[in-house]
Amino acid sequence: MKGFHARRGRIGFLAVLIAATAIASGLAATGASASRHSNVTLTIDVFGDFGYHALYQQYMASHPGITIKEDSEDYAPHHTALAQHLATGAGADDIEAIEVGFVAQYAAQPRYFADLRQYGASKVKKQYLPWKWSQAVARNGSVIGLGTDVGSLGICYRTDLFKQAGLPTSPAKVAAMWQTWSDFLAVGKKFQKRAPKGVKFIDSGSNLYNAIVGQADPAYYSKSGKVIAATNPKVKQAWNLTMQAIKTGEDKGLSAFSNDWNTGFKTGTFATVTCPAWMMGYIQGQAPATSGKWNIATVPGGGGNWGGSFLTVTKQSSHQKEAADLVKFLTSAKSQAYVFKHTGNLSSKVSVLKSGTVRKFRNPFFSNAPVGKIFATSAMRLKPQILGPHQGDFQTASTNAIYRVEQGKQSPNAAWKQFLKDVNDISG
């Protein structure tokens, strides 16, 4: 599949290849005469690496007549292009991946997607984490997508820095210290007293805030779809805790994914970071030399999530049934277990999260922490939250509001007021 991909740009060659494959598999189908499939090419559009290549091969082998072609782009361009393709009614693939930050906005526009209930999706509902399942369900009950992975949260921390500050370092003891977010900030205060110069407890105020808000139900949207950011005490509570962390000097105030943040992993300028499963790979990539200095503990407040995706079948597809079958295969418990083993993306299915594959998984980079168990527990403890179409923009607005305080440009009060004004404008 990799060689196939490298030649993707040469359309002529590709066309010949697809035709040849189609003919060959067509012949095979006739020979076997067991398959009712005609020759179908299914296109699937993902971002980054979903770890599906071997699964495609397996599916094509067991489904003669089906050819699968994957397009992959970066996260942001993928979702921008998807909006354009759906809006203009042309250009979308048969199967489109959608990240959780965008899923609510598309769940509000179910007419662009096949209702997967028509293809037996209701049968797999029970296998899913309830919060994951409900995120891709439209108001009219239509199921626009099936969950792939989740980004359940732990807290990654630097054991060497904890030790210097006189804090315990084992995940069990660390987790016991921070049952709640107030406890977490209290530990930070303690850390700061004996911390090495220039080192802060938390990397970024907005990461802290998003983790806390992510546990609230409801958060920004009420059950009826009303925006309640201004009146929901839980949102204000998350904000206040974040402001407290900034005030007590526990927050490094970095912007996630900025150069300074990336370098901070290498130089150890912050001691903790909210850590979805995929963040493990990110840290290893940014700071390979810090191997063994990290560990992972349970997140305060019970569960959390950052990231994770869905596979949808678009209405533009002329092979919706075949595409839905492929989606069911790719999101099956077996496939998700395979992907976790090979790519590290955590499954969104309860049976996989409870299986030995996940439970027994340890990561040597993170001091051999039982990361599988920590992430699986976090995923199962998280309660579903009602998402709304402008969820992502609210997050951008809150992130900027917190930066304004961190950068000393606004008082917490003024920043909060501007945040509420932004929320109002965005939803208006």
Partner: protein, 324 residues
């Protein structure tokens, strides 16, 4: 500064069937064929220039949302909302600020560089090519590298400032400092381009003018001020107009200057969000997809550019008459 260099060539003129004989066609030929020869440009301009302009104008009068096929005609509501939108005026202010900080030093530097390259310099072909190098560098690469240089904790600029005992500047967070950082990117990229345009114009200045000036006792600097610059006037007007159009459409540099989590708002307090960035945020950069509103921003931008271009034209013209 992404100056769109619109190709206006009329290549591929319609191939006319060549028919012999004194037909009707033969009589019409001199009347019609000139129009056919210039038709390709107008057809291309119509399809890719005029139609989008008109369609954008139409969209700006509706409440069209990209993901919602139903839209309504709402008259000038988008425009009135825009006039009361403090984020829009903030973007206008940022755009002009960055334009000023980048264009003025850029054109002055370009003049000086062109002047130096116009002398009997050793290896001047090499230098003439070298000043164009920033132009052929990928814009994204430029933005990413400059963003690293202007980093807060580990940026090279702060490191150098630190060796002089100057405290670290939080380039991205401050309003003026972020304008400076972005202006440096723009200046770095476009100075050489403008220098070459000036150089070409300088080479067409008749040598006799300099000789006459020398006879009158003018030294090199005086010659530059009183001969070169007035002779370059049309070229200076051209570069100012082009820089204005490009500068007011500034997008890529400030967009990439922002850390990823910020969501394209041009800083936490929108301190360097340009007009086009705001347009992008409303249209595609967020979950709002306000097509109609973005179209209204686009048309306001067109008006601003036209207006500001005129202002610049008169300003530059007056400088010249003061010189003369």
């Amino acid at each position: 500064m992404s100056v769109a260099q619109r190709s206006t060539d009329g290549s591929g003129a319609a191939a006319l069937p060549r028919r012999r004989g004194r037909t009707l066609w033969h009589r019409l030929d001199p009347k019609i064929s000139p129009y056919l020869y210039i038709a390709p440009f107008f057809i291309v301009f119509g399809v890719f220039g005029l139609f989008p302009l008109g369609y954008t104008a139409y969209i700006s009068l509706t409440d069209r949302n990209l993901l919602d096929p139903v839209s309504h005609f709402i008259g000038l509501q988008n425009y009135t909302a825009l006039l009361h939108d403090s984020y829009f005026w903030n973007a206008v202010e940022n755009t002009f600020g960055i334009w000023f900080l980048s264009t003025v030093p850029q054109l002055m530097l370009a003049l000086l560089i062109a002047h130096v390259l116009n002398t009997q310099l050793r290896g001047r072909t090499f230098f003439r090519c070298a000043v164009l190098l920033p132009q052929v560098t990928s814009l994204v690469a430029v933005a990413l590298i400059f963003t690293q240089l202007f980093g807060h904790d580990y940026g090279f600029v702060n490191y150098v400032l630190g060796t002089f005992g100057i405290h670290h500047v939080y380039w991205e967070a401050g309003r003026f400092s972020s304008w400076v950082a972005i202006s440096v990117m723009v200046t770095w990229r476009w100075t050489g381009y403008n220098a070459l345009i000036y150089l070409a114009a300088m080479q067409s200045i008749p040598e006799e003018l300099y000789e006459a000036a020398a006879v009158d006792g003018a030294r090199r600097w005086k010659q530059f001020i009183h001969v070169t610059i007035p002779m370059l006037r049309p070229t200076i007007i051209f570069t100012v107009i082009i820089s204005t159009i490009g500068g007011l459409q500034l997008f890529t540099e400030p967009y990439l200057f922002q850390p990823r989590a910020g969501g394209g708002t041009g800083g936490s307090a929108r301190q360097y969000q340009t007009i086009v960035m705001y347009l992008y945020e409303k249209f595609l950069g967020s979950t709002q997809f306000k097509f109609g509103y973005a179209a209204a921003i686009a048309w306001c931008l067109v008006l601003l550019i036209a207006l500001f271009g005129l202002v610049n034209y008169f300003f530059i013209s007056r400088i010249r008459s003061a010189e003369g």
